[in-house]
């Protein structure tokens, strides 16, 4: 099938290309309708990745957070018109003890495969999850991002000790908001503390036990476990604070991406017997788990509607440029694209 795709060919330059994509008899063809911009897309778009990385990856269609409507499903799983969230992780093999998102051979849309900025997405029924009726379609656009927090919390639940009196979330951005919200819902008896840099943003965390500016954390405040949702240049400082404010034997989830190596005070990690684990991306099971949570706790998508920032109708490449520029100027919130190309 001839398919029009919108590829980043150089920083801040998107060009249209047509690809002849084979549609296997059991393929799933989805019309993307709602897309959401991730920081990773913004880094590609602004050319903030290493030149060698950009040279290897471009041209590439961006966006790995999206849902759409089924056009054709040869497998018979879905019918035309069904709304499905598309899973960007594309495993090519199964491996024991390795989740699909950690298998090194897996491809990932908007990183090692074309993302969702396409007229139609050719995928397979096992890479899609049905959206429940009545869901806020703008919130559903960033289900993938929420599923990453779901994945991290599911792993936390499996490995962290049962002392769950308090959990600290470092980071007052989108990932911090989503992670704190999911923790609040999953562990209603647990005190949830959020640590951030911006009091205006922290004020939006209305559902947690307390918020603190990172410059004003009481010395005697200690948490049982912690989630690092900072990333970038702030990663090192956040991890240092976590180590200082966590009880011995606590578990620390590392979720923030950094382009540089991050120094960690291993002496104190050893002395406190801490467990640090990395978590990245998600798989189909995490999407399902996230949508089940939305169904059981409608207050979660309702709260997430508050982080929908800019919403843009996209009809051509200049609309894409406008949306990315606005997203970059926004300190908080998700940019949602209504895909009308």
């Amino acid at each position: 099938m001839l398919n029009t795709i919108y590829q980043l060919v150089a920083p801040r330059r998107i060009d249209l290309a047509v690809q002849d994509m084979p549609v296997a008899p059991d393929a799933l063809v989805v019309r993307p309708t709602h897309l959401s911009i991730c920081h990773a897309d913004q880094r590609y778009y602004q050319g903030m990745r290493d030149a060698k990385v950009l040279a290897e990856k471009l041209p590439m269609a961006m966006i790995h957070e999206a849902h759409g409507q089924v056009v054709f499903d040869g497998s018979g799983t879905y019918k035309a018109g069904d709304r499905v969230v598309m899973v960007p992780n594309l495993p090519v093999e199964e491996r024991p003890f390795q989740a699909e998102n950690y298998i090194r051979s897996s491809r990932f849309r908007s990183s090692t495969a074309d993302g969702f900025m396409q007229e139609l997405v050719v995928t397979s029924a096992d890479r899609a999850v049905a959206l429940p009726d009545g869901i806020d379609l703008d919130v559903a656009a960033f289900t993938e991002l929420v599923s990453v927090s779901t994945h991290t919390i599911n792993r936390f639940d499996a490995i962290a000790h049962a002392g769950r009196d308090s959990i600290g979330v470092w980071g007052d951005g989108n990932v911090g908001f989503i992670t704190a919200l999911l923790l609040r819902t999953r562990f209603p008896e647990t005190k949830i503390y959020v640590f951030g840099k911006n009091s205006e943003k922290l004020a939006d965390f209305t559902f947690v036990t307390a918020t603190y500016l990172i410059t004003e954390i009481p010395d005697d405040l200690l948490v049982d476990h912690a989630f690092e949702c900072v990333g970038g240049a702030g990663s090192g400082d956040a991890i240092e604070q976590i180590i200082a404010h966590i009880h011995p034997e606590g578990t620390v989830a590392l979720m923030g991406v950094s382009e540089n190596n991050v120094p960690i005070n291993t002496r104190m990690v050893l002395e406190k017997g801490l467990r640090l684990y990395g978590s990245s991306r998600s798989g189909v099971a995490d999407f399902r788990s996230t949508l089940d949570l939305y169904a059981q706790h409608p207050e979660v998508p309702a709260q997430l509607a508050r982080i929908v920032g800019g919403v843009f109708d996209i009809r051509d490449t200049s609309d894409i440029a406008t949306a990315f520029a606005d997203d970059r100027s926004r300190r908080f919130g998700k940019t949602v694209l209504h895909w009308l190309v």
Partner: protein, 236 residues
Amino acid sequence: MNFAAILAGGHGTRMGATDKPKQFQLLGERPILVHTLEKFALMDEFERVLLLCPVEWVEASRDLLKMHLPAQSEKIVVLAGGATRSGTVQNAIAWIEENYETDENTVIVTHDSVRPFVTYRIIKDNLEALANYDACDTVIPASDTIVVSEGGTEIDSIPLRSTMFQGQTPQSFRLLALKEVYEQLSGDEEAQLTDACKAFVLRGRPVALVNGEPFNIKITYPVDLRIAHALLGQYE
């Protein structure tokens, strides 16, 4: 109920030195018309997709569909086109009326087989335009200045470019309304008709505009095929 009619009746007289009609020439690894048919055949909105081609290409077309679109070949019906474009469209109407009950909600989306880059959005917009109209035409704003010359040697007038659009396809219609305007055409009018929308315009009936795309090109001349390959990233 919606039907697509892919018009492949041309003999490719403008395509240069080749015996094969242009719609059967390869674009990438498959004939141009196979690409065009596939987009429509995948869409659940269409009950059947009719391919109207030169009578001597009917059997070959069926073979090509079995080869290239086996999963969709049941949905696609291959028919002989007429001597003219309107004759071809009327063959499609006749087949639909013979095989299905038609009513005011029966829709026919006609499309040039040599416009393989038509997008899902354009097709959907055509179908949606018919919620309020009996006919719609896919167009893009004219990028070149249009010059009017009756004699072909001197300019008669130069219309304001902002009011000029270039016609593409699809052109879509409520089937019974299209049949009605065809029946009202005089012999002269029908002979000059290169465009089904014009049948509505001649009768003073409204035709909605749908936004096309600059790349929804018609592969007419050899240079168009080169452009098409370039769009596909396959420079010859």
